[in-house]
Amino acid sequence: MALATFLIGATTSTAGAQSSDGSFNSARRFMQRDGEVIYRTVCQGCHMAAAQGAVGAGAYPALANDPRLAAAAYPVLVVVNGSKGMPPFGALLDDEQVAAVVNYVRSHFGNSYPDSVSPADVRSMRP
């Protein structure tokens, strides 16, 4: 495959059949705005539908009932910068989108942390 080429060649699709939830709308950035939609159309690829994670030769961590989400800065930093095998999403999601998905995960899947992060919080944590 030719990675470099598609990094250049990737472009916003102008063609029809875009999904109304914002997914499959752009080859450059995620266009989904809603936290739940971002989780279902992006994060779920690895962390799975119930945020239960997965186990193979290696594992994807569960985000359900996850004490590591207690400090909101931690998931923000992981989403923006990536962690080990997990790719960084900082260039694909804006501050509002990062805040939306972090707030969604921290208040669902058995997590009920009362505080939330704002887009400004995310901005201050970007490298």
């Binding site: 990675l3 060649g9 159309t41 994060c43 690829g45 290696g58 080990k84 095998g85 997990m86």
Partner: protein, 307 residues
Amino acid sequence: MLSSDRRGYERDPGGGLSGEAVPSEPLALAEILSSRVWFRLALGHIYEHQSTIFQPVGGMDMIAKAFTREVGGLIRYNAKVTAIKQDDNHVSVIYVDARTGGSPMTATADWCLCTIPLSVLDQIDLSVGASMTNAINAVPYGASAKIGLQFKRRFWEEDEQIYGGITYTDLPIWQIGYPNTSYGSSGKGVLLGAYVFDSPYAYEFTALSPEDRLKKAIEYGAQIHPQYKTDYENGIAVGWHRVPWVLGCFGRWTEEARKQHYENLCAIDGRIALAGEHVSNIPAWQEGAVLSSLDAISRLHRQVVAS
């Protein structure tokens, strides 16, 4: 009329009295510019694609199967490695049966050339120094999805005179690949219905169930080939982040990460060396994996002979 010699005709030139060509209507300039066709035109001209690239008869995994033919007796299947330990004289690999679990087993050797993807290796208890550990942790794994679609007939050949090659599109499927073999045969045919990587589309396809990935690929592909709607039979869809032994498609190096960590990843740490596409300057290519192993084996050999 002259320009139709390049862009094609409304009716192609033919023979006798029925063969008069009818020129086609040129596309509007704005339409050409907004299609960003230039990016697709450039694809075949990048250096990696300038040489002739052959396909193994039977598919890319024929290369892996050829290795099996040569050294099959040495391969231990379904071994899930949990730790790799070394001391001054040996390397011990601790593993369990991936299907049945059970008590850990140990394989011991003088040296270890480890080809486990970094996305998995970074979760394994590995006795190497900080510089190699940091390098292993520094490489995220890229997303990719690939979809194969089986049709009742080779409509692209029968209806549209397409024999092999690739259709590039800005739809989220990015490309449709036509089989470069068995031209003109009757019966079923399989298309590469989508191939995306390093893009939101790759993550979005991965996040869908295999059935929904197929549905999407058919929905988009039918905009190019309406025959999808009548001739589709079944298909297969892979999102690489869902492949349990690799957790992603390829090591996604940045220039900065490479500068900081690449040499440390390649360096022999005591009795352990790494190989794979992730230890190469041609990430994601099988060639990168093969060349990295030859390089690592050559360096190990020199070290062993000298010691």
